[in-house]
Each structure stands twice: as structure tokens, then as C-alpha cells.
Symmetry: D3
């Protein structure tokens, strides 16, 4: 669903943007709650970018959620992982329940092997010491050694879910960094990405001025004169190859 | 789905059982978490019994969840109510989020008009003063004057959900009283109902003895002699018309 | 500050509106969080309407907050009460801390004697059994027998505060009913009041139709035909003296 | 342990004091946290006074906490009830865990039969509709239909415990009203009781003045003149038979 | 109590097992809640294994919990540390209250000097910067600079307690790693240890296959063919000296 | 306000004291709650010492808190930063609300440029990856990518506030380390600093003894003999240049 529809520059721009900047762009469009609350990076790789593949859990029932269910290859948790395609992020709605794991090291490894872009849950993960060492972008709310069956029953793949207080529709763009995970509604991704890259460039300029001793008034936010300086700086900078920003 | 499959005596027996007693019967079958946490009766009618019709919410998104959506008669919240059949309980998965209402007085009134058995949400309701006066079994976690669009986006009808920490599958039996709401997996309902009615009868006998000064040892739980007395009491009692218990 | 500026019909209209209806009117104007969370009616009188007089607490410090401070008539808690004018609602920012009381029965009695419209705190109150019997509109988050000095230090009167998660500016309109307390920014009060009264009238009409068996589609929200019926009903109704709604 | 040691007037004075007043007296003696947090009256009788008999729970373990344990009359939960003597209050340390009941209707009935003064738990109770009707002072944090075995394992009787955040030593005086439960260390009970009764009498006088229109300065707290009036009022009042206060 | 009763291979096997694996083995035996919630490793040494020595706290009382109490060498907190024997883990029930420390650097140092295996509390610790550098296994829920007397009163040594939501009996086996602390009932330790070591070996094999590109079906859980491969791998591996697993 | 009033040795002594030690000194003076709860170091520099400059937030209102407000150089958030003087710590009362940032990297950079000693908030910060790298003492309760306008409205500078549950008056001494932030009332700072430095020296001596195998009784707390040894050690140590402690 992803690469054919979203233009490549969307991804290039997003690759330059922090979740803070994207959150500001969403705020400007009236979306105030697209950043997950309580979901943090837990692996060595702390930059996540991809399209949402969703998995939904409900509370476990002791007679249904027994160890034997995993013998069934169609069990939704296992099936979701085998369905994941390159560039997708598996996003799990665990209802914020961290008393047991949403998944563990072997499943994260398989997801990584399939080329997925990452794993996000608002629940816990187990085998955290091993996951912490993975070069795969993994985000979770906590660590718990308990099997997912202890409190979770996997039911659905590919439906709209909530995760960390955010609505996630299949195909939405998921961006993560050291600070947070933010979800960009798919239809807004191109314009948000473009404006976020521009904002990053402007803020890099402002930061340099502040580091040089400039006071906030006139600088942040920039007044007409600062913006003029900025535009000159951009022109000069774009002459260098590989310069960031929405060229 | 309901009346044709569950035998009538299941309902007769359940009508005599408290949620505490049913919870004990579920515990004896290994199910320890079938009672909703934080969901309380809020209307004048405080006895609920029916089959689950489920409705699922995810977090709202400000661009999708605008007042105009209700112009669409297929909006899942409105559609669920118009689908409800006599004897069904509308159970809403509001993710325990009580910052806005799951529904209000007009919708509860329509649901009641359609012959539904009740309304349960692990979120809030609005227009609580009016709902409190209804002769319709309504359970919720809180009151909130805010429209559901403020934090909720309705997505699905008739799928397995979580509500108050309990898994709810469409068609499960939902029982509520002054104390709690408990969910009985449909296939267990007949046997749980029968044993619950029997337990109620036995505990009525035990309570009478304790009120008469009997000590706990030998009485609660009953020893062989107390059980013998109980059986005699049951025989005597059943000669009277209208006596409760699983005849 | 109140009666001379806000037109009398604003108060007449508000007197007909529930907090749920006012919250909807605020939502339509982009204000989604003006209802206090966790603050409930605790006295016999459960209808509150007035203008905010604010009082701010910070955490107590054991060396400053000793019983002797009340010897000083300028202590902000006592001073605020003696400053209250008829029609004002004393709104206390207790940081949501319910481990000790914000005030008690004697202070609530004095506030009532001064003609104030009510008392609201996002903390606790003490002497709740007595306050519950008062014919004075009192709202709080909990009961606590502990003196306010145990956790609170009163600092400011008449400054903008937060209460129950809502910003409250001095002079804002405070409305409470059985369900909630909602704050209306002063400059919006006239239009919100007018539209709320109109919404109440329309919803009374819709409710009557639903109680009569009308399905939701076409009725709630009303389509063109239902609106026409409504207008006819309004005309007929207004011929009666004392009919509510924004005449 | 109780009646022989504590002088009868201690109980007479306490019978006139609210938990708010006793909490103030404890505050004056440097004890700021002797009122239970989150524990509320749940039965018809809402005045509790007695000496603590303690019962301690730890988390349940599924292999130990099975229905069969109650066959053993020495099970600590059952044993504690059969040990209770007239005037004692059974105080249960349930670690604030309300996911299952600490006890239910039959046990509360037996406790009442044994002449106990009341039942307090910082956990939940089951069979709340029946307990609500009892003429026995019962306090709890919540209702839960689940058996105590679901989350609790009873271990100890008669040891110091925590309940509602308060340290409770066997023999401490437990006082409850509509507002709260407060624990008075046994050795402080006589003086706290005396001063609380006096404070109640003074505040009754002050309240009457405030109801009559007196301003706070000079009245609350009372200045020299108000105190003189008060003393005259006390003298006049004591001439009447049955007048309260520490005679 | 420890070394003479538990066979040495139990400890050897446990030394190879993660808390996640042990939690799965306990789940298979019906024990779903033996892992502490909210308790995390805080020192450099993050592998804990030993037998529980328990210490119980209740809430502090300001008149009892004054600095002078530590002059008494029999104060339970200090006494527990001087009682600790090599191989024991001091497990403190701090009721999950992290507002003050359960212990600090000097006490942890003394415990380490006595040869104890570690320190676990569901409360906080103070002097965390120094504790973080210790080569001693320490687990806690938080850091707090406040003395334990601020909120804790130590009462009992060697009694059953709750810690992190888990029942802990003296002599139970306590296992900790980077992820969690799990408690193994003493009588189950030998069989849980054996099966956990075997599970670790099998999962190492499965992980290697998944890292090599194997899909989940047939591999995790393993089907008959994968199990046959595994057995061959075990045979080949056991020919090497020092190979892990329950030989 | 600072350097002219507080004697230089106060700062020298505080520079040697941990927050744990200062908290003990405050406890000895009856102040039990001067350490912030939930506020943690987030930058590379983890030693904070300075005088409080306070900034107060209340909940945001969507019509007031729009991006354009920052065009006004008098916006309190921006103004507070431009007012900060060398040695001051900007302490923000964010009501513990971490759903949005209190500030971000550019503002922290400007504050650092102005010579401020640090930044403390009981809310969140954004741009955490960049702030984590700053050589500026920054403390916060969480990371959030959302702009402060999303939930905060800045109102006041230089008034008493609450932060992390602690009362903070302008000019109070703020001390932070790896463990916590503690606030010392300004008038107590000299004596608390002196006694804290002395306590640090004594505990260094005790720790060395415990590391050498000394038992707790007689050592911690020290008895007469240990204190004598300590005094000899102090004398010997003070002959060395640069020795810490309140010379």
C-alpha cells in the first residue's frame, strides 16, 4: 500500500524531521493528540519510519488463552508477523496494559527478518535485554517477563486501533525517534513532511543564532529581519551538496 | 442469536443470581477476571440480564470527529443502536476513557424503545441526571458532559471487545446488579446459571443460620451435618409454590 | 463585575441549560476541555450559576502552615471568603490534591451567608455530612477530614487558576448541575447561553419524538422535515406563557 | 483489651466528635496522616467506634488460594472473625487492592452477631447490596463481586498493619463517620477524645454565630471577646441536662 | 535454610534462565503473577539469585518514627541486615510507596559485606548514584532522597509479605535480571529450574533458525521435524565441554 | 537577590552535599516534603544549584493558546527566560501535566546562554535527544513532543508555585543531583548547608568503616567510640589541602 502511493520525497523529508517538529505541524492543522503517551524507544535503533500494520488485542480469557493456541499458525499474533511487508511497522493495541508482554525477542527477530521497519506497542515486551541490543526500531511502554496470553487475546489484523492514546489507521505513517512515536494520517503525510523539513531547517538556523547569543525577541519566532537572514543562509547553504530541507 | 439457543431455564436461574455468586462459579471454572472493574449502575433499574451486542471505539481524530458525522445514519454509534434487538445489551469498549461521554440520554432512550435489555460502557455517559431516572439498566464508569466526539471515534459493531478489563464476545451473557457487571461466556451460561441458582439457595440457608447465631466452622462452608439440614430445608421449601433455585 | 456587564437574558438562558448542552456549544466553538474532571456535586443544592472568584493553593510547608496562621484575618483562605460578593462562585485551585480539605462547614456557611452562589474545589472538603445538608451549591473532588494546612498553603486571590483541569479566569461564568461543572469564558457567555437554550428546546422536542418511537435517522440529528415540525411546535408552544427557550 | 483500660468518658467524648475534629486534634499533636484515604462508609450504620483487631492479607498465589482452604476453620480470615470480641473493629490490610473482595455479607453478618463494633478494609467487599442494608458499621474502598482468594491470601491476625495509608496497631481506637475513618493511637485516645469534645462544643457555638451573620475575623478562630461569650454560653448550657462536651 | 535443601543443579539451571523463561514455566503450572510489577534493576550488577529474607514495613507514625530510633540496634530495618546470611536476598515490602527510601547506600553496602545475594524493594532507595555503581544486585521501584522514617515504619522480619504485587514467603527463590524480578515458590524451584534451562536451550536453537530466515509456522512453536533437528543439535552440542542446559 | 544575601560558604557547603543528605537535614527541622516527586535529571549535566525563578502555567484554552501568541515578546514563557539572571534556576509549575512540553531545546539553550543555573519542570520537555546532550542542568518529569500550547497557558512569573509536590518561593535554594531535586527555604539555607556538609563528611567516614567490615551497631549511627575515631580522622584529614566539610 505504501511505496507506490506516497511520493519518495515524503520519506526523504520525514527522515530529517523530529517527532517534536511533526507534532507541531499536526498541531497547526488542528490535530493535537497524534503522539503516543507512555511509549518509548527500547532498542539500539531509535529512528523509526514506516506504514502502520495494525494488530488488536482484547483482555485474555483463561480458557481461550492457553499455551497450545500457538500451535495454530493462524493465531493473529503470529499471522500478523508473517504478513508484515518491508517498510511496515507493526503497531499493537495492547490497551496500555503492561502486566504482560505483547511480544518477545523471537517474534521481534522474525519481524526484522521480514524487512519490517519496526514494532510499536502500548503494552510491554519481554526479553528486553535481548531486544535492547537489536538493530531494529522497537517501541514499548514497559518490560514484562510474562507471556502475552497472561493478559492479552489477539483478535484482529488490519483494523483501525488505538495505541498510546492515538488513533492508528492501517497505512498511516508512523515516525519514531528517541523522544516519542507520532502518527501522521496518510493523506496528510506529504504536506506535513514538507513543512516539517522546512521547520527543521529554520529551527537549525534559529538555534545557531541563539547559541551565538541572540535574544528570543525577534529570533524565536523570527521577525522579518531574521527571516531575511534565514533566506540568505538557505541560498548559501543549498549550494552545498547534500544539504537538508525540502529542496 | 439469543432466545433460540439458550434454554429458558438459564435465564430463570440467572434471574435469581447475584454477580458475586456468578463470579464465584466462574472462579471455580478457572475464570478469574470476568467482572468489569470500575463500571457501576447509574440508572434506577439496577438489574441487567441479556446478550452482548458490541460497539468499539478508538481515540478520536479532530479532523474525522466533527459534529457533522452524525448526519450519516451509518455512523457506527447510531447504527449500533438501530440494530439492537430485544434482549440485547449494548456493550461499548471506550478504552476506559471517561473524559467524554460514550452516549447520552436520547440514545439511551432510543435503545430502551427498541427493547434492548441495557447499556454498558467502560467510559462515561452524559445527561446523567436524566439517565439516573430511567427505568432501563444502564452501567458506566463515570459522568461527563462532553460529546463522545471529543475523545472517541466509533469504528466497529459486533466484534470481540474489551470492556472494564473483561473480554466480551458478541452473544456472551451479560449480568448486572447493584454491585457489578459480569460477563459469562455463552457456552458456559447454562451450567453457570444452574450452579449459581443452587449456590444462592444454599447461601440463603447459611445466612439464616448465621443470623441465628451459628459460628462459621461447620456452617460456612457447610459440613456434612449442615448440608443434611440444608437438604431437608430444600425439600420443605420446594413444596411451596414459586420457590427459587434450580428446580 | 457581574450583573452590570452580562445581560440578564444570559442568566435566564443558562438557567435552562444543562452542563452537557453548554459543553456541546463550547465544542462547536473549538473549546473541548472546559468541563472539570473529577469534581462532583456534594450538597443538597445541585444547580450552580455565577461568576468565578478564584483562590489559589500551593503545597503546604510545615513551618509556614501551622494552626496559628488563622489568627491573621488576612490569611488568603479567610480573606477570599470575606471578599465574596453575591452571585460569585469561589473556585479553589487545590491542584487536585484530595489528601486534605480545601475548606469545611463553617467556611461554607459564611460564604453562603455572604450571598455567594457556590463553592467549587478540585480538592476535598471536610465536614461533608454537614455540607451535604446545605442548601448551597458546593462541588468538590472528595471528602477528607484533614485540615487544609496539612497539604495546602493559600497564596493568591483573583488570579487565573486551573481547577479540575480547566482554566478559570476571574469573572468567567461557572455553571454546575448534577453531572458536572463547566466554565464559560466570560466573553462567550451571551452567545453560548443563547444557543444552549435553543439546543435544550430542540432536544426536548427530539426526545419526545424518540420516546414516541421515532428512529434515530431523520430525528437525531433532525432532517429538514423534523426541523419543520420542530418550528411548528415552537410556534405553538410560545403562545403559552412561561415557555422556556431563547425567546 | 479495651474497656478495662480506656476510661468510659473517653468513649463518651468520642461519641460526640466527628472524624474531622479528631483529625485536627491529631494534627495539633504532630500526627498528620491518621485518616484513611479512599475508605468510605458502605452500610446504613455510619458511625463507628471501637478498638482495632487487625487482619493482614498478602497477594494470593493460585496454588495456595483455592476454594478448599475454607474447609480449614483455622483459615486466618475465618479465624479472625470468630476471635472478634464485643467493641472490636476488624481492620483488614488489603494493600488497597480492590480487584477482589476482602469479605462478604455472610462474614459481615457473623462479625455483627459476635458483637463487633464494625468492619474496615482498604480493599473491596462483595454482596454490597446486602451489606448496604446492614445496621452494622462497615467501611471499604470499593465493591467487587470476586472472591477474596482471587487476589488475597490471609496471613496474620493481631499484628500492626497499614490500612488506607494509616498505621494501625492492635488496640488502637478506630473512629468512623459519614466522612472518613480515623485511627487514634491508644495512648493518645483519652486526651484526644477530651479535646475533640471541647472543640466540637466550641465549633457548634461558632457555627451558630456564623449562621447568624458573624464575619470570620474575630469569630473563626475566636478572639478574646468571642471566647468570653462562649464561656458564658457553656455555663448557661450546662445547666441543661444531657448537654454534650467534656463536662 | 537454603543450600542444604535445594540441590546444587537447581542453582546451576537457574543461572542459565531469564526471568521471562521462568515466568513461562510458572504460567504452565498455573501461577500467573509471580513477577514483580514496577521493580527494576538499579545497580551495575543485574543478575540476582538467592533465597528470600523478608522485611515488612507499615506506614510511619510521626511520634514513633523519629531519627533517634536507629540508636536501637534491634530496630527491624537494621536487625534484618545484620541477620542476612550469604545467598539471601533481602526483600522489603514497602507497600509500593516510593515517596521515601526503603534503604540507602550504607545499608546496601553492609548487606553486600555480609555476603547477601541482593536487595529488592517495591519502594524507593536513596543515594541512587552510589548504589548504581555497586557490584551488588539491587532492585527498586524508584529513587527518593527521603529517609525511610518519612513514610515507613519497619515491623517484622521473616514473615510472608507482598512485594511488587507478588507473595513472597521466607526461603522462596528470587531471580532477577535486566528485565524483572520473579519469585519461585521454594517447593517448585527444582522442577521450574530444570524446565527453564531446557526451554532456554530450545529457544536458543529456535532463535538461531529465525535469525537464519525460518518462518514462524513449524519453528515457533517447533513442529515434529524442528524438534528432531533440535535433538540432533543438542546431541552434537553436548559433546562440547561447558554446554548449558539441564544435562 | 542571591549572591549578596547568601554567604559564599553556603554554596561551598551545598556543593558537597547530596539531595539525600539535604533531605535528612530538612527532616530534622520538621520539613518532610521538600523533594520533588517524579522530576528526574534529563541532561548530561546532573548537578544543579541555584536560586528559584518561578514560572506558573494553568491549563490551556484553545482560543487563547494559538501559535501566534509567541509573536508577543511579553509572553510569560519567553519573558521568564529573558529575565533569568546568572545563578538562577527557572522552576516551572506545569501541574504535573506531561501530555505536552513545558519548553524545548531552543528555550533551554537561551536560558543556558543567559547564565542560568538550570531548568526544572514537573511537566515534560520536548527535543529531549538534544537536551540530553546539553551541558546544562535540566530536570523534568517526562519527554513529550507536543508544543506547550497544547495543554499549558503561561500566566505568572516570580510568584510562589508548586512543583513536583513541593512549595517553591522565589529565591529559595534549588539543589539537584542524579537522584532528585530538593528545595531549601531561603532562610534555612545557611544552616542546612553547613550541617549537610558535616553529615556528608561523617557518612564518608562511616561508609569507609562499613566497607571495611564494621557491623551497623555502633557504627551507623555512630556510638561514642566511633565518634571519637571520627573526630581524630577529621583532624588528620584537615591537614590536607582541599579537604571537604564545613571547615
Amino acid at each position: 500500500m505504501a511505496d507506490e502511493t506516497l511520493p519518495p520525497e515524503t520519506w526523504q523529508w520525514l527522515a530529517q524531521a523530529s517527532t517534536a517538529t511533526v507534532t507541531t505541524q499536526l498541531f497547526k492543522r488542528g490535530l493535537r493528540r497524534m503522539h503516543m503517551v507512555g511509549v518509548r524507544p527500547v532498542s539500539r535503533r531509535r529512528r523509526l519510519m514506516g506504514e502502520a500494520l495494525t494488530l488488536r488485542y482484547i483482555p485474555a480469557r483463561e480458557d481461550l488463552d492457553v499455551v497450545e493456541v500457538f500451535q495454530n499458525p493462524e493465531h493473529p499474533q503470529r499471522r500478523a508477523i508473517e504478513l508484515a511487508r518491508p517498510g511496515q511497522v507493526l503497531v499493537i493495541d495492547a490497551r496500555g496494559d503492561t502486566r504482560a508482554a505483547s511480544a518477545g525477542h523471537i517474534l521481534a527477530t522474525r519481524l526484522c527478518q521480514r524487512g519490517a521497519a519496526g514494532l510499536v506497542t502500548d503494552g510491554a515486551l519481554r526479553d528486553m535485554p535481548a531486544i535492547a541490543e537489536m538493530n531494529f526500531a522497537v517501541y514499548a511502554a514497559a518490560a514484562s517477563p510474562a507471556m502475552n496470553l497472561t493478559v492479552h487475546h489477539a483478535v484482529d489484523i488490519g483494523v483501525p486501533i488505538g495505541c498510546g492514546g492515538v488513533p492508528v489507521f492501517p497505512g498511516d505513517v508512523v515516525l519514531g525517534d528517541e523522544e516519542a512515536v507520532v502518527v501522521i494520517p496518510r493523506h496528510l503525510a506529504p504536506e506535513v513532511a514538507r513543512d516539517a523539513a522546512e521547520q527543521e531547517r529554520l529551527e537549525a538556523f534559529i538555534l545557531a543564532k541563539v547559541e551565538g547569543g541572540a535574544p528570543l525577541p525577534g529570533t524565536y519566532p523570527p521577525d522579518a529581519q531574521t527571516l531575511e537572514e534565514y533566506r540568505a543562509w538557505v541560498v548559501a547553504r543549498e549550494r552545498r551538496p547534500g544539504a537538508p530541507g525540502p529542496a
